[in-house]
């Protein structure tokens, strides 16, 4: 029941006291949940904390740092900011581009494979699944040859296409499993009212599938953001350098300077995590239920 509905109900004194206690218990439970949530998160994020810890200790070694950064040293951050700012922007552009391209191409396909009755759906799904079984390096090597002919090396669109290609099959599979639950009757109602298939898709299916679209968008962003293989293989001149490649400024063939590496990783996570938090807000409940009503 919504809070509004509850407040409209008139109650006796007894009922009011019971209701208030019920609310208090629920509020306490909520705070306990939040506390538990934070504890789980701490357990989960301990390696991330470790990364932060090392980034603040100028020693630059991973094996000998103390547990708490008692004397924080921001030298690593100074280096990272000076060197990697442009690389962060490159990564951001590529990641956002990947999200857009992935969603635009994968969503209609997912819907078609979920709702249309094609005879070859199983084969299509099999092909999509097989594409996910190939090791990333094998794909990158093949793409290198293709990009060389198409002159797409060292280009941001090139990297966007490569990362999107990687994410599209994943997106199709995930969104399809969500779209299986969209009642066909809603779409048919719109079509009966004269909307074409595309318009019905855009105005009915897309809003209902908001959760899966955002989730797939999230993962496409993460795939592209943390990609190393394509960044390495599909660039040759050093003009386009995503941050996963940029950290090698501090990692040589024989010597590793971890402090700026960790600092870069921390800095790189900040804009990304902000985007993720914003996106998570939109994964709301009841998108399907509301539409059916």
């Amino acid at each position: 029941m919504t809070a509004l509905a509850e407040s409209r109900i008139s109650r006796t004194g007894d009922e009011q006291r019971r209701h208030r206690r019920h609310l208090m218990v629920r509020h306490t439970k909520n705070w306990i949940r939040m506390g538990l949530g934070i504890i789980f998160l701490i357990g989960m994020l301990f390696p991330v904390y470790w990364m932060l810890n090392i980034s603040l200790q100028g020693s630059g070694t991973t094996l000998t740092s103390s547990v708490f950064p008692l004397h924080p040293d921001f030298a690593g951050y100074r280096t990272a900011i000076a060197d990697q700012g442009g690389h962060l922007l490159t990564s951001l552009i590529i990641a956002i581009g990947t999200v857009v391209v992935t969603l635009v191409i994968a969503a209609p396909c997912a819907y078609a494979l979920a709702q249309f009755r094609f005879r070859w759906i199983s084969w299509a799904l099999l092909a999509i699944l097989i594409s996910q079984m190939i090791p990333g390096i094998v794909i990158a090597n093949a793409l290198y040859a293709l990009y060389q002919r198409l002159d797409l090396l060292d280009s941001i669109p090139g990297l966007i296409i490569a990362n999107a290609a990687n994410a599209i099959p994943f997106g199709i599979l995930i969104m399809r499993s969500f779209m299986l639950g969209v009642p066909p009757s809603i779409v048919e109602a719109a079509r009966v009212d004269g909307a074409g298939r595309l318009r019905a898709f855009l105005s009915i299916v897309v809003p209902i599938s908001r959760n899966s679209l955002i989730t797939v968008g999230l993962f496409s962003f993460l795939f592209a953001w943390s990609d190393f293989v394509f960044a390495l293989t599909l660039t040759t001149k050093g003009t386009i350098v995503p941050v996963t490649l940029g950290i090698y400024t501090y990692l040589g063939a024989h010597v590793a300077n971890w402090s700026p590496v960790m600092a870069t990783a921390v800095l790189a996570s900040i804009p990304a995590i902000i985007l993720l938090i914003i996106a998570q807000r939109y994964i709301a409940a009841g998108a399907v239920g509301g539409a059916v009503k």
Binding site: S59, T61, T62, L63, T64, W120, I137, N141, A142, Y144, A145, L146, Q148, R149, L232, T233, T236, K237, G238, Y248, T249, Y250, L251, G252, A253, H254, V255, A256, N257
Partner: protein, 415 residues
């Protein structure tokens, strides 16, 4: 039914077209796309590929390259660096798409393997020779009698020891294996291990095993000899009696250095590239060559360092300029400059002696490099398979899965 067939046929056409695309690409991909020009006249730019990604190495080499470019008459030198383990992959990709760089840096044990494929141009064709060089670098870069690369700087591994810790414990730097074992045992106190080395399951681990193996007379052409077994026994003894951490099978040379810097290891087996870090962290260190097992043996260490090569790009004018660039990077002045920047020893014997005079603290390294042995000296392109056997056998011994006497045999059998 009539309705279904047209749809099916239409779909079959789409599918066929779609299927043809990758097959056409597969047919075209990899074949000539290349610039097979014998080129004439001026060369505007040269591309250089190496794995010096981190600073200051990257900028130091970059500066040297552009200065050499100017001096050989090339306007621009495009310098690309990729992470170490990915260099060869990059080279292979570029080879199959005929886009190899004009100058290619290769780690010395890889030279013969790449030369065997015909991808490198023999430097003799350009009038370059390795006279006056230490024997190690020359052997590594020679395949079937021809010279394929010129290496300006070399390094090797020696025993670093912490002078403060050793003097406090009244321990002298070890000269024999027995001394090494006793010293390490004595220096293992509290959280501090006596000795640290790298024994990972990769070519780095194999490289670190070569000093004991070669010093004891073992040879890479026959690993199942008692001399190799004794070397394995040394590693095993050090770990078994607690002088070296069990984690050595997981530590890279960088990790070993971290342990040494943090005072968690009194001695370590490592190379001169760590010196900048050691001086920055103000560690009072000394070096000795790897100890010998029995009297009369000489300490032998493996040759490290990278060489510059000229790939066969098909552009004769560019290749000639590339060869000039390689020669320039190897001049006496440039070798000395590179050595002073830290981490390598000049490969020309005379220049190395000069360097030793100018910087006496590097004397130990200079002497070690003079006698350093190339890994590919005897096995050539077959070295990687042997390296795999070496590190597999070593890991079997250190994890107790095999005895030193039959570890190598077991590793060869694919254990």
């Amino acid at each position: 039914m009539i309705k279904k067939r047209p749809v099916l046929r239409r779909w079959a056409t789409v599918a066929a077209l779609a299927a043809l695309t990758p097959i056409t690409l597969a047919a075209c991909g990899g074949s000539s796309g290349g610039e097979d020009s014998s080129g004439s006249g001026s060369v505007d730019s040269l591309t250089v590929l190496d794995y010096y990604t981190d600073d200051p190495g990257h900028s130091d080499i970059g500066k040297q390259l552009s200065q050499c470019g100017t001096s050989v008459g090339v306007k621009k030198v495009v310098h690309q660096s990729v992470p170490g383990p990915t260099l060869i992959q990059k080279v292979l990709q570029q080879a199959s798409s005929k886009s190899l760089p004009d100058v290619l840096m290769l780690d010395n044990p890889d030279i013969q393997q790449i030369a065997q494929t015909g991808a490198l141009a023999p430097l003799d064709d350009f009038g370059i020779n390795a006279d006056g060089y230490a024997p190690g670098p020359k052997a590594a870069a020679t395949y079937q009698g021809k010279l394929y690369g010129l290496q300006p700087g070399a390094n090797t591994i020696v025993i670093f020891y912490n002078k403060d810790i050793l003097s406090k414990a009244h321990v002298k730097p070890p000269k024999t294996w027995d001394e090494l074992k006793t010293a390490a045992k004595k220096l293992t106190v509290g959280k501090q291990y006596g000795f640290a080395f790298n024994a990972t399951a990769d070519y780095e681990g194999a490289w670190q095993f070569l000093p004991p193996m070669w010093t004891n007379g073992g040879d890479e052409t026959n690993l199942t000899t008692p001399q190799v077994a004794e070397a394995l026994q040394l590693w095993k003894d050090l770990v078994d009696d607690g002088s070296a951490s069990k984690s050595v099978i997981n530590w890279s040379q960088a990790d070993v250095n971290d342990q040494f810097v943090a005072g968690k290891a009194a001695m370590m087996l490592n190379g001169p590239w760590q010196i900048p870090t050691l001086t920055a962290k103000k560690v009072n260190f000394g070096v000795v060559p790897f100890p010998v097992n029995k009297e009369g043996q000489t300490s032998v260490a493996p040759l490290g360092g990278e060489a510059w090569t000229v790939p066969m790009t098909g552009d004769k004018a560019k290749m000639a300029k590339a060869a000039d660039l390689v020669k320039c990077m190897n001049t006496d002045a440039n070798q000395l400059l590179r050595a002073k920047q830290g981490g390598v020893i000049p490969t020309k014997i005379k220049v190395a002696q000069q360097f030793k005079q100018e910087d006496p603290s590097m004397a130990g390294f200079v002497d070690a490099v003079a006698t350093a042995r190339a890994r590919t000296g005897k096995l050539g392109p077959k070295w990687p398979d042997t390296a795999k056997t070496i590190y597999t056998g070593m890991q079997l011994v250190l994890t107790g899965r095999a005895e030193p006497a039959d570890a190598m045999a077991k590793a060869q059998a694919g254990g």
